[in-house]
C-alpha cells in the first residue's frame, strides 16, 4: 500500500515534467451525434514505431494527449463505434461518435462527493448508477420507492401510501447501527439532504448508489452508511426542439391490504342480544323499540352475538331526527366496513421543464406540482418544486454555475398510524364488525338531543338515567370511539415546510492540468405546524381522551458548506493521473419553538395558546455544530485498463472533545480491466473487470452529546418552586467516533457485445466503537451511557445480471435482475464483555404486548426479544385449562432483518410500445404486529371465529362442541389436548404476556411497478413541427403482493423497527401519464 501511495505522490509532485520536443499538446472533445459530450472515452495514440499511449476523456468528454503529426488517435467508448483520426496540424479535435447497435451500453459515470466524476471503468468501489429514465420507468413521487428492487443491496422500507408526505427509509446492505437505524446519505448535485423527500424524481438525471463506507469515504462521516448520489438534469447542447417538456400524470390509490377480519359475530362484549324495555322518562322516539333486541354498544370489541340477519336495534336508531330513528334493522355481516372508510386516493403530478444550452451556457428550469388527496378522509398534500440549474462560461477559463431548488409543501390531516389511532387503530384493534359504513358516512353530522356528535360506541339503553340530565347527555356520547368520519372532520392538522437548497460555484481553469473550484452550498428548511381539535369533539366523548386544543411549532435549520477543490489531471506517457485536493467547511444550526394547550380550551374553538385551560406546555431548542475538513483523492490509470485510487480526508469536529477532535478517513482501491488484454483470445467477452477496495470511515458525535450532563429547567413550577432533573445519560470523557471499515471485491463481466452482463460483489464490513448512548441498567442511576461500544460485523454479496435476450428491429427485451444476500449481520461485541444485550429504540408498545428489539452478542442484528411459550421438544406445555405457560426468562424470537432482497426488471419494447414489469422481493426477517395482538384480543381477526374440527364455530360453548382445539403436552411431556373457550384462548397472551404469538414473516414477492407506454409517431401524425415526442403510459404501483407469508399486512410497508402498531393499510394504484417534449 505504501508503495502505491508513494508512487501516487511522486506522480503528483512531478506534474511539472514537460513533454518532449517534437510532440505537442492536443486537446479534444468527444460528442455523440446530438452533440452531447461522451464522457470517459478511451483515447489511444498510435504513433509509428512507438509504443501505444493512451488516456481517457473527462466527464465532459474533453481529453488532452501528447501527439505529433501523423499519429492516429483512436477513440473508443462503450455504446459507440470507435473512430480514428489521423493528426494533422490541428491542436484541437472534435470527434463525433456514432452510436453502435442497440445492444451496447453507454459508459457509466460515477459521481461522488464534491461532484467529482469518474468512469465506472476506472472505479474500484461499489457504485451502481441508474439513469433517470431507468428510475422512472413508472413515474413515482418518491426516489426511494422508485429505487426499490432496482439496485442490488438496498432494502426500501416503504410506508403506506396513505401517509402523505412521509419520509421512507432505505437500508444499504443491512444494518450497522446499534441503537437506532443507520441513515443513508442523500446528495443532490453535491448538496447533502436529510432524506429523499424533497428530491423531485422528474429532475433526476442519474442516481449513483455508493454502497458502504469505502465507496462513500470522500463524504466523510456522513457517508459511513453509504450514499445515494443524485445528479439533476441539465440542458444539453444540440437538443432538438424548443426544449420544453411537459409531463403530467394522475394515479388513483385504492386500499387493498387489510387484515382478515371475522364476519360472523357483531360488536360488544356480550354474546347475546338483550331485550329493550321502554319505560316512561325515556325519549319518546325509543318507544317503538320496546321489546326489540339490542347488542352491547358500549364495549368496543366484537365478542357479540352472531350476525344471522335477525332484527336488532342499530346504534343510530336512538338519535332523533333521521329516517332510521326508532327503527330496527337486520343484523347482517359488513365484510367491507373498514375498507369503506377509505377514500380513493388521487395524485396529480405535473412537471414542466424548459432547457436551453448555447456554446457557453446552459439553463434548465423545472417546476413540479404534486397534488394528492389521501385515502384517509380529509387528508391532502400540495407540493411545489421549483429548480434552476444553470452554468455560464464567462470566459474560456471561468465558469460560474448555480443550482437552486425551492420546495414548499403543505400537508393537511391526521396521519397517526400508531396504537389507538382513529382509523386502523380502531378497525384493527377495537371495533364492531357489524357496523354499516354506508350509514356511518351518511350520518355524519348526526347529533344527540343535547347537540353532541353521535357515536356507534354509545351507552346501552339499560343505563339511561331517568333523572339526571347530565347522565342523559352522556348516554349519547362516544364511550371510546367517535364516528371515524366525524373525528377526521373535527381534527385539523396542518404541516408546512419550505426548503431552499442548492449551490453556487465558480470554477477556473488555470491551465490544461489544473482547475480550481469554489462552491457555497446551503440547505435551509423552515417548517411549522398547527394542529387543532374542536371543542365539540371533546364534549362529545366520554372516555375518548380527546381534548380540544391547539398546538404549534416552528423549526428552522440551516446547513452551509464552503468547499474548495483543486483538480489536477495529467497524463505522463502511459499513465493518467487525476487528483483532487480540497477543503470543506461546514456549519449547521437549528432552532425550534413548540407549544401546546393543555386540558382543553376556555373559549370554545378559539385556537390560541393563551386559551389553554391549564398551563400550556412549551419548549425551545437550539443547536449548532461545525466541521472543517481537508481531503485529497486521486486516481492513477495505466493505459486505461489498470487503475489505483485513494481518498484521505481529515475532519475537525466541534462536537468531539476539543483536545482530540479530528478523525481521518481513508480509502484505497484498485481495478483491472483484464478484458483489454485478452480481447483477441476471448472474443465473446466484451468487458471484464476485477476490482478491490478498502476503506475506513470513523463517525463523529452530534451536537452537545459531549460533554453532556446538562441540567435543564422544567417548564412548570410547583407552587413557586422550579424543578430540575439529573440527566439520564452519563458520558465517557474519552468518547470518540465509531469506525466503519469495509472491504470488498468485485468481478464485472459483459458478453456478446455487452448483451449480457454480470456483476458480482463480495463485501465485508465491520463497525466498531459506536459513540452511542447505550442502554445501561437504570439501577446504576442512569439509563444511558454515551461511550464507544460494540462491534457489528456483516458480509454478503450483491449480484446483478442483465441481458437483452431479444433484439430485433421491432422488438427488444431488456432484463435486469439484482440480488443481495446478507450472509452475516452479527453483533460481535457490545463493549464491556459483561454487556450482552442492548435495547434497540422501540415503539410505544414494544416490550409490553409485543416483543421489543434488542442487540445481542452472538446474535443476528435486531432480535425481537420477549417471552416464549414453555415447550417440551417443541410442543407447548398446556395448563390444566388448556392454556400456554410463559417461559420465566425472555428470549430471542428472530431478527428483523431480511436474509436477502432483490428485484427483477423487464422492459419489452415493440415498435412504439414499451412495457415495464418490475418485481421486487425479500426473504426472511420478522416483524411483530400489535394490530394482530389487539385484533385477536377483541375478536376481530378471522381466526377468532373459525370452525373447529368438530365443525362448530370456536365461539360456540365448549359444552356444545365449540371452543378452540389446542394441542400440546403436559408438564411430563405427555401429549394432551383440550377444547378451550374462544375468548379465553384468544385473550390469554394479554394476561400471560407471552409475546411470541403475533410475529409475522417479512418475506414477500411483489409486483411493484407495471407500465404500458405508447410512443406516438409524431411524424406520422404530422405533429413533428410542434413536438419532438409524445408518450402515453398506463401505470400501476403495488399491483399485486404475489407472495407473502402474512395475509394481513404488506410486509414491504412496515411502520416500526419491531413491526407495526396499527399501521395504515397497503394500497394499490393505477394511473396514466403523458409526456410531451416540444
Amino acid at each position: 500500500m505504501k508503495k502505491i501511495v508513494s508512487t501516487l505522490l511522486v506522480s503528483m509532485l512531478c506534474f511539472v515534467i514537460g513533454a518532449t520536443a517534437q510532440v505537442r499538446n492536443v486537446t479534444g472533445k468527444v460528442t455523440d451525434e446530438k452533440g452531447d459530450a461522451v464522457p470517459f472515452v478511451s483515447v489511444l495514440v498510435k504513433a509509428k514505431g512507438a509504443r501505444l499511449s493512451g488516456t481517457s476523456a473527462d466527464a465532459n468528454g474533453a481529453f488532452a494527449v501528447k501527439a505529433k503529426k501523423g499519429d492516429v488517435i483512436e477513440v473508443t467508448a462503450l455504446g459507440f463505434n470507435s473512430q480514428s483520426v489521423t493528426l494533422d496540424n490541428q491542436s484541437t479535435l472534435v470527434i463525433t461518435l456514432k452510436a453502435s447497435n442497440a445492444s451496447s451500453l453507454k459508459e457509466v459515470v460515477i459521481t461522488s462527493a464534491f461532484e467529482t466524476k469518474r468512469s465506472a471503468r476506472s472505479s474500484s468501489v461499489s457504485a451502481q448508477t441508474i439513469s433517470g429514465d431507468q428510475l422512472s420507468t413508472v413515474r413515482q413521487l418518491n426516489i426511494n420507492n422508485a429505487l426499490a428492487g432496482k439496485v442490488a443491496g438496498i432494502q426500501v422500507q416503504s410506508q403506506a401510501a396513505g401517509k402523505l408526505g412521509v419520509e421512507t427509509n432505505v437500508r444499504i446492505r443491512g444494518e450497522n447501527g446499534i441503537n437506532s437505524a443507520s441513515s443513508v446519505l442523500y446528495v443532490v448535485n453535491g448538496t447533502q439532504m436529510p432524506s429523499a423527500a424533497d428530491i423531485n424524481p422528474d429532475d433526476v438525471d442519474a442516481v449513483t448508489v455508493l454502497a458502504g463506507p469505502a465507496a462513500a469515504a470522500l463524504f466523510g462521516p456522513a457517508g459511513a452508511n453509504g450514499a445515494i448520489v443524485i445528479t439533476t438534469r441539465k440542458a444539453k447542447k444540440g437538443e432538438t426542439g424548443i426544449g420544453v417538456t411537459f409531463n403530467t400524470g394522475v394515479t388513483f390509490d385504492k386500499v387493498y391490504k387489510l387484515p382478515n377480519y371475522q364476519n360472523k359475530y357483531s360488536g360488544g362484549g356480550n354474546p347475546d342480544l338483550t331485550t329493550f324495555t321502554w319505560v316512561a322518562g325515556m325519549p319518546e322516539e325509543w318507544k317503538s323499540l320496546s321489546g326489540k333486541m339490542y347488542p352491547d354498544y358500549t364495549d368496543d370489541a366484537s365478542w357479540g352475538p352472531a350476525m344471522n340477519g335477525q332484527e336488532y336495534i342499530p346504534w343510530y336508531a336512538y338519535y332523533p331526527g333521521t329516517k332510521y330513528t326508532g327503527k330496527t334493522a337486520l343484523l347482517t355481516p359488513q365484510p367491507n366496513n373498514a375498507r369503506q372508510y377509505y377514500d380513493m386516493g388521487v395524485s396529480l403530478n405535473n412537471n414542466v421543464s424548459f432547457s436551453k444550452a448555447t456554446d457557453n451556457s446552459q439553463t434548465r428550469i423545472s417546476y413540479s406540482n404534486i397534488n394528492q388527496k389521501g385515502t384517509v378522509p380529509t387528508t391532502t398534500l400540495d407540493k411545489h418544486t421549483f429548480s434552476v440549474n444553470t452554468s455560464m462560461d464567462v470566459t474560456a477559463k471561468l465558469t460560474v454555475a448555480a443550482n437552486i431548488n425551492y420546495v414548499t409543501q403543505n400537508v393537511f390531516g391526521e396521519f397517526d398510524d400508531g396504537y389507538s389511532n382513529n382509523s386502523t387503530g380502531s378497525f384493527n384493534a377495537w371495533f364492531h364488525r357489524d357496523l354499516d359504513f354506508g350509514i356511518m358516512k351518511e350520518l355524519v353530522g348526526l347529533r344527540s338531543p343535547q347537540g353532541y356528535l353521535a357515536s356507534w360506541n354509545h351507552n346501552n339503553p339499560d343505563s339511561y338515567s331517568l333523572t339526571s340530565a347530565t347522565s342523559q347527555a352522556n348516554w349519547y356520547k362516544a364511550n371510546y370511539w367517535d364516528n371515524p368520519f366525524e373525528y377526521m372532520n373535527n381534527v385539523r392538522n396542518m404541516n408546512r415546510k419550505d426548503r431552499l437548497y442548492g449551490d453556487v460555484s465558480v470554477a477556473y481553469k488555470i491551465n490544461s492540468d489544473f482547475k480550481v473550484k469554489g462552491t457555497y452550498r446551503k440547505n435551509q428548511n423552515t417548517t411549522y405546524y398547527e394542529n387543532t381539535l374542536s371543542s365539540l369533539l371533546e364534549a362529545s366523548g366520554v372516555q375518548t381522551g380527546a381534548k380540544a386544543g391547539y398546538s404549534t411549532a416552528n423549526t428552522f435549520s440551516n446547513r452551509e458548506n464552503f468547499e474548495g477543490l483543486l483538480s489536477y489531471n495529467k497524463k505522463v506517457s502511459d499513465f493518467d493521473f487525476n487528483a483532487n485536493l480540497g477543503f470543506d467547511i461546514f456549519r449547521a444550526n437549528s432552532r425550534s419553538i413548540y407549544a401546546n394547550t393543555n386540558g382543553g380550551l376556555n373559549v370554545q374553538d378559539l385556537y390560541t395558546l393563551q386559551n389553554s385551560k391549564t398551563a400550556m406546555s412549551y419548549s425551545n431548542g437550539r443547536s449548532q455544530d461545525k466541521y472543517r475538513a481537508g481531503f485529497v483523492t486521486g486516481n492513477l490509470g495505466y493505459r486505461n485498463f489498470l487503475f489505483a485510487d485513494f481518498t484521505v480526508r481529515k475532519d475537525y469536529y466541534s462536537t468531539l472533545p476539543s483536545d482530540n477532535n479530528s478523525i481521518v478517513i481513508k480509502n484505497f482501491g484498485g481495478s483491472f480491466v483484464f478484458s483489454d488484454l485478452i480481447k483477441n483470445k476471448v472474443p465473446f467477452l466484451s468487458y471484464g473487470k476485477l476490482r478491490a477496495t478498502w476503506g475506513e470511515v470513523p463517525a463523529a458525535l452530534s451536537a452537545y452529546q459531549y460533554p453532556g450532563f446538562s441540567y435543564a429547567v422544567g417548564a412548570n413550577q410547583f407552587n413557586g418552586n422550579f424543578t430540575m432533573a439529573t440527566p439520564n445519560s452519563v458520558v465517557d470523557p474519552a468518547i470518540h467516533g465509531a469506525v466503519n471499515t469495509a472491504k470488498e471485491a468485485g468481478l464485472e463481466l459483459k458478453f456478446l457485445k455487452n448483451r449480457i452482463g454480470v456483476n458480482v460483489v463480495y463485501w465485508d464490513q465491520t463497525s466498531t466503537n459506536f459513540p452511542i448512548s447505550t442502554s445501561i441498567n437504570g439501577t446504576s442511576g442512569f439509563s444511558g451511557l454515551l461511550t464507544n461500544v460494540g462491534k457489528v460485523a456483516k458480509n454478503g454479496f450483491d449480484v446483478t445480471f442483465n441481458a437483452k435476450p431479444v433484439v430485433t428491429n421491432d422488438f427488444q427485451w431488456d432484463f435486469n435482475v439484482n440480488f443481495s444476500r446478507t450472509l452475516e449481520n452479527q453483533i460481535v461485541s457490545l463493549g464491556d464483555p459483561s454487556v450482552k444485550l442492548l435495547t434497540y429504540s422501540a415503539g410505544t408498545y414494544g416490550g409490553s404486548y409485543v416483543p421489543t428489539v434488542v442487540q445481542a452478542v452472538g446474535q443476528k442484528w435486531g432480535q425481537l426479544y420477549g417471552y416464549k411459550k414453555q415447550t417440551i421438544k417443541g410442543q407447548p406445555i398446556l395448563s390444566s385449562a388448556g392454556l400456554w405457560l410463559k417461559e420465566t426468562t425472555p428470549t430471542y424470537l428472530g431478527s428483523v432483518l431480511p436474509d436477502f432482497t432483490g428485484g427483477v426488471q423487464n422492459s419489452f419494447t415493440y415498435k412504439n410500445i414499451v412495457v415495464n414489469v418490475n418485481i421486487d422481493f425479500q426473504k426472511g426477517g420478522k416483524f411483530a404486529s400489535l394490530s394482530d395482538f389487539w385484533g385477536t384480543f377483541s375478536g376481530l381477526t378471522e381466526r377468532t371465529a373459525a370452525i373447529n374440527d368438530k365443525g362448530k364455530n370456536v365461539r360456540d360453548a365448549v359444552s356444545a362442541g365449540g371452543g378452540v382445539h389446542t394441542f400440546g403436552v403436559d408438564a411430563t411431556g405427555k401429549p394432551v389436548d383440550y377444547y378451550v373457550d374462544a375468548a379465553t384462548y384468544y385473550q390469554q397472551t394479554y394476561f400471560s404476556k407471552i409475546t411470541d404469538n403475533n410475529i409475522y414473516d417479512l418475506t414477500f414477492v411483489k409486483l411493484r411497478e407495471l407500465s404500458l407506454g405508447y410512443r406516438f409517431n409524431v411524424k406520422k401524425l404530422g405533429l413533428s413541427k410542434v413536438m419532438q415526442s409524445a408518450t402515453f403510459s398506463v401505470i400501476a404501483n403495488n399491483l399485486l403482493l404475489i407472495y407473502s407469508q402474512t395475509k394481513d399486512f404488506d410486509p414491504s410497508e412496515i411502520s416500526n423497527s419491531y413491526g407495526e402498531n396499527g399501521q395504515f393499510p397497503g394500497t394499490r394504484s393505477l394511473g396514466v401519464n403523458l409526456k410531451i417534449s416540444f
Binding site: 346501552n460 467547511i585 481537508g630 484521505v648 441498567n777 439501577t779 454487556v835 435495547t839 375468548a983
Partner: protein, 492 residues
C-alpha cells in the same frame, strides 16, 4: 502514508486561510459545542422539588390496590385477574432515586457543598434525601424482593451492572439510614428550600420542618421493622428491637392527623393523580370494589360516604364479558371520582397507620404500650381524618366487630389498617401479605396458573437484557423462580 495525512492537513490549513480563520485555530471551535439549553451545575432545591412533586405516585398504586381489593376494574380487567405483573423498576432509579443521590453527592463533595448550601444546610439536605431514598427503596423491595441496592446509583463510578442485595440486608440498611438521617438535621439555619412535602408554603422554620421529617423517619422505622414480623416474630429479635428504638427516639413519631404526611398539589400542571385519571384523562377504568364497600357496610363505617361515589361497590374480579354487563350509570368511583379536585392532597402516611403499628407492636409484646388505647386512637384518627366526628368514631369503636380484644388483636388491627390505608394499595398489599388480613377471595376469573393473588412483581425484561447475570443470581434465591406466586424474604 504519513505524507498523505500531511497533505490533507495542509488542505485544511488552506481552507482556514481562505476562510480567514487563523491557521492555529483550525481545530478550535470556541464555544460552539456549549449546550445553550441547560447548565452544568444543578440547583439541589430544584432536584428535591422534582422528586417531591411526583411523590404522590408512591401512595396511589392502582395495581396493588386491585390486588388488595380496594378497586375493581370496570372495563378492561387485567390486574384484578392477575395479569403477569412484569414490570421494570429502572426508571425509579434513574429518575427519583438518582436525583436524591445527586443531592447527597453535591452536599458531600467538598468541591460543590458550599455552592449548593444556598438551598439549605448541607446536612439537612442530605438527611431529607436519605429519608426519601429509604422510603422509595422500601416500596421497590416490597414489590420485587431482592433488588440492586448497595451497588446501585453508582453510574458515575462506572458501576453499570449492580449486584442484587438480599432484601434482609436492604431492610437493615433502610433502618440504619433513617436512624442516621434523624440525627443529621441541622436546625441552626434555614429550612431546606424546594421542600414542597413538609414545607409547602415555604414559610416553615428549620426546627419545625425538620421535626416533621424526623417524625416521618421515626414512624417509617417502626413500620419497616414491623413489616418483618413473619421472620422476626418475637420480642428481642431485630424487628422488635428496632421498633422499640424508633419509638424511643426523643423526636417522637406521627400521632395526630395534623402530622400526617401528605403531598399538596398546586393544580394546573401538578395535579392529584385521581384527578388526572378521572378528570384529565376521563378514564373510568377503576371503581371502588364491592369487597371494600361490603366491609364498610358490615361495620356501619361512616367512611363509606368518602371512599367512593356510591355505597355499592363494583363486583371485584369480573372478567370482561361480565364486567361490561354491569350498568355503567351506577359505577362507584374512587374517593370523589370526577369531583376530585386538581389540588386534593395525597396522603403518604397518616397517624392512624402509625398508631396501629404501635398497637400491633404492643399486642405482640414488643413494647409495653397499651395496645387497646393505641388501637382506639388509631381508629378515631382514621375516622376523623375524613371529617367525621370523634363521637361517630366512639360509636363505631363500640361495635363488637370493631372493639379491641386481645384474642383477635392482630386481625382487628390489620382490618382497621386495611381500611385506614385506603386508597394506598402499595402499603395495603404489603400488609395483607404480611398479616393475611383481611381474608381476600381471589377473583374467580383469575387468569394466572393457580388463580391466587400475586405475592410479588416479576422483574422487567430490561433486567434480563441489561443486567442478566445479576438478576439470574437473584432469582436462584426465589423459591419457585421469577414468578408472581414466589414469596419475598419477609413474606415466608
Amino acid at each position: 502514508m504519513k505524507k498523505i495525512f500531511k497533505i490533507s492537513s495542509l488542505a485544511v490549513a488552506f481552507a482556514v486561510i481562505i476562510s480567514g480563520t487563523g491557521c492555529n485555530k483550525v481545530s478550535d471551535f470556541g464555544t460552539t459545542n456549549v449546550d445553550p439549553g441547560g447548565t452544568g451545575t444543578p440547583v439541589t432545591s430544584a432536584l428535591l422539588t422534582n422528586v417531591l412533586s411526583g411523590f404522590g405516585a408512591y401512595g396511589t398504586s392502582v395495581t396493588n390496590g386491585h390486588y388488595v381489593q380496594y378497586f375493581a376494574e370496570t372495563q378492561y380487567p387485567g390486574n384484578s385477574l392477575y395479569t403477569a405483573p412484569v414490570a421494570s423498576f429502572q426508571s425509579i432509579y434513574y429518575g427519583d432515586l438518582y436525583d436524591l443521590q445527586n443531592i447527597i453527592n453535591k452536599n458531600t463533595d467538598p468541591l460543590t457543598k458550599a455552592a449548593v448550601a444556598t438551598a439549605g444546610p448541607n446536612n439537612s439536605q442530605i438527611a431529607i434525601a436519605r429519608i426519601m431514598k429509604a422510603y422509595i427503596f422500601w416500596t421497590i423491595t416490597d414489590r420485587w424482593g431482592d433488588i440492586p441496592y448497595s451497588q446501585a446509583l453508582k453510574g458515575l463510578e462506572k458501576v453499570y451492572l449492580p449486584k442484587y442485595d438480599k432484601q434482609q440486608d436492604i431492610y437493615i440498611d433502610l433502618v440504619k439510614e433513617l436512624k442516621e438521617a434523624v440525627a443529621q438535621f441541622d436546625n441552626s439555619s434555614i429550612a431546606v428550600k424546594g421542600d414542597v412535602l413538609m414545607n409547602y408554603a415555604g414559610s416553615g422554620t428549620a426546627t419545625a420542618v425538620n421535626l416533621k421529617w424526623k417524625k416521618f423517619a421515626n414512624s417509617l422505622r417502626m413500620i419497616i421493622a414491623l413489616r418483618t414480623s413473619k421472620v422476626y416474630p418475637s420480642a428481642g429479635q431485630w424487628a422488635a428491637t428496632e421498633f422499640a428504638a424508633a419509638l424511643a427516639d426523643a423526636n417522637g413519631s406521627i400521632a395526630l392527623n395534623t402530622e400526617n404526611v401528605a403531598l399538596a398539589y398546586p393544580g394546573s400542571t401538578f395535579n392529584n393523580p385521581w384527578y388526572s385519571s378521572y378528570v384529565t384523562s376521563a378514564r373510568k377504568d377503576d371503581a371502588v370494589a364491592n369487597t371494600m364497600t361490603d366491609a364498610l357496610t358490615a361495620l356501619n363505617d361512616p367512611r363509606i360516604a368518602s371512599y367512593g361515589t356510591t355505597a355499592t361497590g363494583f363486583p371485584y374480579g369480573l372478567d370482561r364479558p361480565h364486567a361490561v354487563l354491569v350498568a355503567t350509570a351506577t359505577i362507584p368511583y374512587v374517593l370523589k371520582g370526577a369531583a376530585t379536585l386538581a389540588t386534593d392532597p395525597v396522603v403518604i402516611m397518616n397517624s392512624a397507620t402509625v398508631l396501629l403499628a404501635r398497637a400491633e407492636a404492643a399486642a405482640r409484646g414488643w413494647t409495653t404500650e397499651s395496645a387497646a388505647t393505641l388501637y382506639a386512637s388509631a381508629v378515631t384518627n382514621a375516622i376523623t381524618q375524613y371529617g367525621y366526628t370523634s363521637a361517630q368514631a366512639t360509636t363505631y369503636l363500640a361495635q363488637a366487630a370493631v372493639a379491641y380484644n386481645t384474642t383477635d388483636a392482630i386481625k382487628l388491627i390489620a382490618t382497621q389498617r386495611w381500611l385506614a390505608l385506603y386508597p394506598n394499595g402499595q402499603q395495603a398489599w404489603a400488609e395483607w401479605r404480611r398479616t393475611g388480613y383481611p381474608v381476600l377471595t381471589p377473583s374467580i376469573y383469575a387468569t394466572n396458573v393457580g388463580g391466587q393473588i400475586p405475592r410479588r412483581y416479576i422483574y422487567g425484561t430490561d433486567e434480563y437484557s441489561l443486567n442478566a447475570d445479576n438478576v439470574k443470581a437473584a432469582v436462584t434465591g426465589l423459591t419457585g423462580g421469577d414468578l408472581a406466586d414466589s414469596r419475598i424474604w419477609w413474606d415466608k
